[in-house]
């Protein structure tokens, strides 16, 4: 009986990078308990529902950034793509376009940014930091130009269905935004862990040259990761439009960094090749819980920034220490042989 119980546990513990995920999960639980004690409202059903809905967009962009980080690259254009998605969809709807058509066009535009990111990095061999810095400013420019340098008007009563679908509506007692995040997480987690493309994404992140020599197409694999990132950013932009009922040009500002934070807190390595999307869930949750809990605690914004910054650094430090220990262990076992 005991051995049967032990086996799945062992299998879970054998997954690469699980140690950090478990550590931060414990951190998340402690954080929730502390905030709950400080302020009983924290666990009220209303706040839990709100909190989950606040975590959802961070989780979505976190999924995108995790994909890209696992390939050993980075996507700085996420926040701008969120803004671009918001402004394009809202502008089209204020001009009287049906929400479904507006959503379709918006997704195409955002995927074009993802495609450019992928090709610039893998085909043109630009450093990912520079390539996506460029598309970041371009996408923000498109967000601004979409409605001639203004926030849009209200998307109107006709778009109420759109607003309910992405944000205000509930299905089986949960807000739709949360369902969207769960559904996309399941899909992208499946693609990353259970398909050939997913394994290729890990492979080029661990060792691009080895992966290439064993027949992995670097261009298409890298581009796939950037397309995922652009797609989830696009969805977050649509959620933003639904939330506000209008388009704001500043939407999504610095979301790319939130996405990095959610990923690395959850144990995704910025060096590539390692990371679990379950970790990203924990990372995004820690981020969301901190924002929510520290607002209740009445902490000044400066303090909140410091706390979040420290957590990001500590979690990466944890990763580095664990990795160097592993390397030392391997060396030791190699020399003893």
């Amino acid at each position: 009986m005991l051995s049967v119980m032990k086996r799945p546990l062992k299998r879970i513990l054998a997954i690469r990078g699980i140690a950090q995920v478990l550590t931060v999960t414990i951190g998340l639980i402690i954080l929730c308990i502390v905030f709950g004690i400080m302020n009983p409202i924290f666990f009220s059903s209303r706040n839990v529902a709100n909190l989950l809905r606040q975590i959802a967009p961070i989780l979505l962009i976190g999924i995108g950034q995790s994909y890209v980080l696992i390939t050993g690259n980075i996507d700085l254009s996420i926040g701008s793509v969120v803004g671009m998605s918001t402004m394009i969809s809202a502008t089209l709807m204020t001009k009287g376009m049906a929400p479904s058509a507006a959503v379709f066009i918006t997704i195409i535009c955002c995927l074009a940014v993802g495609l450019s990111n992928g090709l610039l990095v893998s085909f043109a061999k630009l450093p990912p930091f520079i390539a996506t810095l460029g598309t970041m400013t371009i996408a923000r420019g498109i967000a601004q130009i979409a409605n001639n340098n203004y926030n849009t008007d209200s998307i109107g009563e006709a778009a109420q269905g759109f607003r309910d679908f992405f944000y205000y509506g509930k299905t089986l007692g949960l807000y739709n935004t949360i369902w969207i995040a769960i559904l996309l997480w399941l899909i992208f987690n499946f693609l990353l862990t259970r398909t050939k493309s997913g394994r290729h994404i890990y492979a080029i992140g661990s060792n691009a040259e080895a992966a290439r020599l064993s027949g992995v197409n670097l261009v298409s694999t890298t581009t796939k990761a950037y397309l995922v990132s652009a797609f989830v950013s696009c969805i977050v932009g649509l959620v933003t439009t639904a939330t506000s009922g209008m388009g704001t040009m500043d939407a999504g500002n610095s979301y790319e960094l939130y996405a990095v934070a959610a990923s690395v807190i959850g144990g995704v390595s910025t060096l590539g090749g390692q990371g679990l999307l379950f970790g990203t869930v924990i990372g995004a949750s820690i981020w969301g819980v901190l924002q929510n809990g520290l607002q209740f605690a009445g902490a000044p914004v400066a303090i909140r920034n410091i706390v979040i910054g420290v957590i990001v650094v500590v979690s990466v430090l944890l990763d580095v220490i664990v990795r160097s220990k592993n390397v030392a262990k391997k060396k030791k076992s190699a020399s003893s042989m």
């Binding site: 409202i41 009220s44 209303r46 706040n47 709100n50 809905r53 606040q54 918001t86 001639n148 340098n149 203004y150 926030n151 008007d153 209200s154 205000y168 959620v239 933003t240 939330t243 506000s244 009922g245 209008m246 704001t248 040009m249 500043d250 939407a251 999504g252 500002n253 610095s254 924002q291 929510n292 607002q295 209740f296 009445g298 902490a299 000044p300 914004v301």
Partner: protein, 317 residues
């Protein structure tokens, strides 16, 4: 038939001299004449805004037009780039100077972008007056919204409504853009001032970067915390406040800033109590009057003219 002699050539030289003399006289006379017409048909005043699209600038123009026709004898023109752009605004200033402007009413794009062009304009004797936003260059007067006073007005509106509902104490949430934007920081400070000495506690300000969706999240958290009032310091913040109140369906009093289609619809639906709208028409109207006085050589005071805010409520819409 005369043959050409040396004296004829000399005469030619003389006639050339005469011609240039005549030309010179003509030039002087016409210059004097031009000066004369200027004396009789008064002044050329240009309004230069950040762009032409925004209703805000259209209203500044309307105000300036009204004052110009009331005062009489002013040749008034509105110049603006099609979209907000520093280089294009500089071009507008140069065009106004070349077009013989006596005064320019300017809504400066930024504090430093256009100062070189303004220096040149001032060198050409043009009087400069700022409307809406000033640059780092001395001008006769700046006519703009005093954001601190406007914030206090917003606070008083909220306080009035809370008192009317019999609420004497409670928590109030504030959503602003960031801690660096001078106008919204001033609005927030003014808002807090209105509640000094009352039983209300104003919670730590939340910053949403002007993103209405983030403001909505923060407002929802405030409502969960049990606030009785919410204040948004700009358009995005205010829309978030209104959306959160609309969703929670609670009787939280929401007061905001700016006048947009979305904010007005939130007020009409009863989710927001009021919004503070700037008075661009007053900027144009009073700015033109200042320009006229300055051109007449009158001394202008004050240096800073608060054009105030209008409180827009469901009743006033």
């Amino acid at each position: 038939m005369k043959t050409i002699t040396e004296s004829d050539v000399d005469k030619g030289v003389i006639s050339m001299k005469k011609l240039s003399l005549v030309l010179l006289v003509l030039l002087v006379v016409s210059a004097m004449f031009a000066q004369g017409t200027k004396e009789s048909s008064d002044y050329k005043v240009y309004l230069i805004t950040m762009d032409q699209m925004d209703q805000h600038w259209v209203n500044v123009d309307k105000g300036a037009q009204k004052a110009a026709s009331e005062l009489g004898g002013i040749e008034y023109k509105w110049l603006a780039p099609d979209v907000k752009d520093d280089a294009k605004q500089i071009e507008c200033i140069n065009n106004a100077v070349a077009g013989g402007a006596d005064a320019i009413l300017l809504a400066a794009n930024g504090p430093n972008a256009v100062t070189a062009a303004l220096k040149e304009a001032a060198g050409a004797g043009v009087i400069i007056i700022y409307v809406d936003s000033a640059a780092n260059f001395p001008a006769v007067q700046t006519l703009a919204t005093d954001n601190t006073a406007a914030g206090t007005t917003a606070g008083k509106e909220m306080l009035k409504e809370l008192t009317a509902k019999g609420v004497k104490s409670g928590k109030i949430g504030v959503i602003s853009v960031n801690s660096a934007t001078a106008s919204t920081v001033a609005r927030e400070a003014g808002f807090r001032k209105a509640f000094e000495g009352t039983g209300f506690t104003i919670l730590e300000t939340q910053y949403c970067d002007g993103d209405a969706a983030r403001s909505k999240d923060m407002s929802a958290n405030f409502i969960t915390q049990g606030v009785v009032g919410l204040f948004g310091a700009n358009e995005g913040s205010t829309v978030g406040v209104g959306n959160a109140i609309a969703e929670a369906g609670k009787s939280v009093i929401g007061v905001g800033f700016d006048k947009s289609d979305m904010i007005l619809s939130l007020i009409k639906n009863g989710y927001l109590l009021a919004t503070m709208a700037q008075n661009p028409d007053v900027m144009g109207y009073e700015g033109m009057k200042t320009a006229y006085k300055a051109l007449k050589g009158e001394k202008i005071s004050p240096e800073y003219f608060d054009t105030g805010v209008s409180v827009l409520t469901k009743a006033s819409l």
